[in-house]
């Protein structure tokens, strides 16, 4: 356990000196926090929202608005679109971080001396995974907190805040976020074992955001709507996926394979 931290701390000391990684880890959460708040702000007061009626929303959404004024419900509908965007962070940040941390070590051949130490490959893998996943989860949670604070300040009454900090959102941010980060890390490890350029590895690993973007567009176009059942299934699906991906990544992460087959 201690060695996992030793490795994670080294990763942070090293990889955060890279401008590209720093950019992703800082800029993306800033954008993801600012964007919904700006939209909320420009949407203006509930009076201006008065024209927004339930008819503009998918029928299923009305269930979620129980007890809310139609204005707040309208705001909630708009802000809801961003829940999925908050989940982009736990996917994108680990993809970037792990690509630089693994392909970087591969091209500079720094892994061999590490593998010569009594560290187990599982500790090494865990150290790298933790190093990539924690900043992502931290950034997600932090920007969600800032976002909730912004909602509290920008909206009148507790209606919208209660929704945004309700079980549905919290479950998505607190449970699904980390599960997605694990998937992103595992995929980045697999891609990194094959790639020789961290930027290429990053771009390929970034493809993990596609399914999420798909969901996002399906939601804005009204095809689906993220509700409790769907989010639960999503969590189960990602958890199962994580187990499979992790098993595969562990398989790739063997001393001999890293030294002789990672080219």
């Amino acid at each position: 356990m201690r060695k996992i931290w030793v490795i994670a701390r080294k990763e942070w000391a090293e990889v955060f000196k890279n401008r590209f990684v720093l950019f992703t880890v800082i800029f993306m959460p800033l954008m993801m926090t600012a964007l919904p708040l700006i939209i909320l702000y420009t949407m203006g007061t509930p009076e201006e929202m008065a024209g927004f009626s339930a008819a503009d929303m998918p029928a299923s959404f009305a269930d979620l608005c129980e007890g809310l004024s139609s204005e707040t419900c309208g705001q909630y509908f708009i802000v809801s679109q961003f829940m999925l965007l908050f989940m982009l962070m736990p996917l994108a940040i680990p993809a970037t971080f792990a690509s630089y941390s693994i392909v970087g070590e591969k091209t500079t051949r720094t892994l061999e001396p590490v593998l010569a130490t009594p560290v187990t490959t599982l500790e090494l893998l865990a150290g790298k995974a933790v190093a990539a996943a924690l900043p992502a989860i931290g950034a997600t949670w932090l920007s969600f907190s800032v976002f909730s604070l912004g909602v509290a300040i920008l909206t009148e009454g507790p209606g919208l805040l209660r929704q945004v900090t309700g079980p549905l959102w919290l479950f998505a941010i607190v449970v699904i976020g980390p599960l997605l980060a694990v998937a992103a890390v595992s995929i980045a490890i697999m891609v990194s074992s094959r790639a020789n350029d961290p930027r290429v590895a990053e771009q390929i690993s970034m493809l993990v955001i596609l399914p999420l973007l798909g969901l996002f567009f399906a939601q804005i176009s009204g095809l689906i709507f993220i509700n409790e059942t769907m989010i639960l299934w999503m969590a189960i699906g990602v958890a199962v996926l994580d187990v499979g991906l992790l098993a595969f990544a562990t398989q790739l992460f063997q001393r001999e394979a890293i030294l002789t087959r990672w080219k």
């Binding site: 030793v6 490795i7 000196k17 051949r109 001396p113 593998l115 010569a116 009594p118």
Partner: protein, 300 residues
């Protein structure tokens, strides 16, 4: 300290190391000499528990390769083929990371000790990217020593260094030996092996020869004595060739070049015979075959 029996490594169709048998004694500098692609790096990787042998067995510091790998890793240090430093981290941070991975008790103390020993203490805060090739190599050697390993594997420690730096690294290797450490030195540099090593294994996939540098020379060639005369003549050549112990003789300018089995015993008699024949001897010396000739003959 290291015992190897039938050690073999295959990469698919490529036979990298074939049936290696040898023994390295505690406290010696053991040279592992061979051309590029001879399997030196592969052997070091097997002996430091980085990759597993295809067949055969080996014991390092008393632990069996493949069964007690973690113990082996604790007890050996390795200077890998490329120094593999974290370019963005300081010299000190590079070392402290490894000290922690090796479970060194006094991390700061050991890091300081080796930074000072290798003359890098003043540059401890600088990132490794700013270091010269020689300094990087020194830092990588320091990294291999932090946990005070019993056996130190050095994979071509002076490759790519300028002569001055190479000399400093060699001096340091000699110092390490004085501290009673066993050193396994891979090199394709004959001169280096000759100067540093107590014994040399010549390898090219298989083990071709293993002995002290002197014995390798003696075993593979007759010893040759060169006698400088004020004037050489065929008469003297005849006198020399009549001696029963002489294997070969040849005139070169004013020199007689004589092949002998045992110069220490035969020289006095040979010289007496020449003096009796009236030769003016100016100087007698031994022609030392370079290890290079021996090596090329072996590897071809």
């Amino acid at each position: 300290m290291i015992v190897v029996k039938g050690l073999t490594k295959r990469f698919g169709d490529v036979l990298a190391v074939d049936g290696l048998d040898m023994e390295v004694k505690p406290g010696e500098i053991f040279g592992f000499l061979g051309p590029n692609g001879a399997g030196k790096t592969t052997t070091i990787r097997m002996l430091s528990a980085l990759i597993s042998p295809t067949s055969g067995e080996a014991k390092v510091a008393g632990y069996e390769v493949g069964r007690e790998d973690n113990e082996i890793r604790r007890n050996v240090g390795i200077l890998t083929e490329s120094p593999g430093l974290y370019a963005r981290l300081s010299a000190e941070r590079n070392l402290s990371f490894f000290a922690e991975l090796y479970d060194v008790e006094d991390v700061a103390g050991q890091v300081e000790r080796y930074l000072r020993l290798l003359g890098l203490w003043d540059r401890r805060g600088d990132v490794a990217a700013t270091f010269s090739k020689g300094m990087r190599q020194k830092l990588a050697i320091a990294r291999a020593m932090l946990h005070e390993p019993k056996v130190l594997f050095l994979d071509e420690p002076t490759a790519g260094l300028d002569p001055e730096m190479a000399r400093l690294v060699r001096e340091f290797i000699n110092e390490l030996k004085d501290r009673g450490r066993t050193i396994f030195l891979c090199t394709h540099n004959l001169d280096e092996a000759d100067r540093l090593c107590d014994r040399i294994a010549v390898v090219n996939t298989r083990l071709l020869a293993l002995d002290t540098p002197e014995a390798l020379r003696a075993k593979l060639y007759d010893r040759v004595v060169v006698i400088h005369l004020s004037a050489a003549s065929p008469a003297y050549e005849k006198v020399v060739s009549e001696q029963s112990f002489v294997r070969s003789v040849e005139i070169k300018d004013n020199k007689l070049v004589v092949g002998l089995d045992d110069p220490e015993r035969n020289n006095p008699e040979l010289i007496r015979a020449l003096v009796d024949a009236g030769a003016d001897i100016q100087f007698v010396g031994e022609l030392r075959r370079s290890l290079e000739e021996i090596y090329l003959r072996l590897v071809k």
